[in-house]
Amino acid sequence: MAKAAILSYIKRDSFVHELTGTTKLIFFILWSVASMITYDTRVLVCMLFMSVVIFKISKIKIKDISVVLGLAAIFLIMNNLFVYLFSPEYGVGLYGSRTVVLTIAGPYTITLQQLFYHLNMTMKVICVVPVALLFIACTDPSEFAASLANIGVSYRIGYSVSLALRYIPDVQREYHNISQAQQARGIDLSGKDKLFTRMKNSVAILLPLVLSSLNRIETISNAMELRGFGKNKKRTWYRLRRMTGKDWFVVVFVAAVLVIDLLVTFWDGSRYYNPFL
């Protein structure tokens, strides 16, 4: 099972852990918006630097998340490779000049502009990765629903999310059990069978899983209904914490990052920072 690849809450004692879930959620959302909007190299370098600093503060070790980082690296390399294969001259069009460094074969030349584009594209993804990972690793799942409700999401949806987090391990265990049982009966999901057979075989595992999940839905929703869930417009949360000075500081900080990001990015009317002019 791919259990090791799944990141979960890691309890440590750090500044990042002390912040409320709400703060971290706001930080995560604004930070990824900021990185999505900009393509300005200067902004991206700053954000990358800051995200590394935040990672240091959090006391989460590289070791804790090495599997996840490996996956992210593979994802990035493949993505870069494919962008290059499809349009090796993309950067040239973007930055409006052409400086050839190396000619490989046919249309595949390496230009400075293309390299610069790849650098920017990669940074854009990388500067969100530590923040996203920290958000998962440093937020107590039971506090998460409260945070969602706190930023104005309907508590029903918040409850759905916390149910999802609560039942992922259960569903995982169930999937594992069913698939072992079916494998004992000779149903194979691995690469040895043809793709179509594999898909048909997967139904043999999915059907019991779906049916038991539907039963589970029945049980849980009956239990919730009996306890009067959804009767009132509002709900209080056991794990909700009040925002303190630290939290406000972080929220103001990330809002400032977003504003500066917007200003620098659109100051000259272009999303790109062009060093080739």
Binding site: M78, F86, S87, A132, I157, V171, L211, S213, I217
Partner: protein
């Protein structure tokens, strides 16, 4: 927005958990970062059973969790997943699988999922990618179409089989007759 019923709240939670677990065991295709994803079959079945809002949120929450626990969230694809669930739910809204299933319903389910996935991966995801990540257009559309077609096939085969098998397990109204 209409208030979500308790059952939908739970269905979204469990559906997103299923989406997440199945998303982690996907079978890779030759195109990078694109997988044959069983989770979309489940999403389609849940959208048919519990409606468009459930489909939308299962896609959104499930996909966000998958991305956030493996690499950073890739928002354009998350939104496309949510969009696919919404469309499937909308098209199959008035279709009650609990009353049994026939060819017409199967065709409708498949039409819904085909339209939803082709729109989501062939149009919504690449357009958002262009807007957000500014990647080359050709790459995005090839990637999107491969993902779209493979999702349509997976959902078509696995989803349809699941739906038929599910309908068979439900006891229909009036299935008992009085003995003379």
């Amino acid at each position: 927005m209409k208030k979500l019923s308790v059952k939908s709240v739970v269905a979204i939670g469990i559906g997103a958990a299923l989406f997440f677990v199945l998303g982690k065991i996907s079978i890779p295709t030759p195109v990078p970062n694109t997988y044959i994803s069983l989770q979309y079959a489940i999403q389609a079945v849940f959208a048919t059973l519990f409606g468009p809002i459930a489909g939308l949120l299962i896609g959104f929450v499930g996909h966000t969790l998958i991305d956030a626990t493996s690499y950073g969230p890739w928002w354009s694809w998350i939104i496309a997943s949510a969009f696919a669930g919404l469309v499937i739910g909308l098209v199959t809204m008035k279709m009650d699988v609990n009353e049994g299933i026939d060819t017409k319903k199967i065709v409708r389910f498949n039409a819904a999922q085909a339209v939803a996935h082709l729109l989501a991966w062939g149009l919504v995801a690449p357009c958002l990618d262009i807007l957000i990540y500014k990647e080359p257009i050709e790459k995005l559309f090839v990637q999107g179409l491969v993902a779209g077609v493979s999702n349509v096939l997976t959902t078509g085969i696995v989803g349809t089989l699941l739906l038929i098998a599910y309908a068979k397990t439900v006891v229909k109204k009036g299935s008992l007759s009085k003995e003379d």
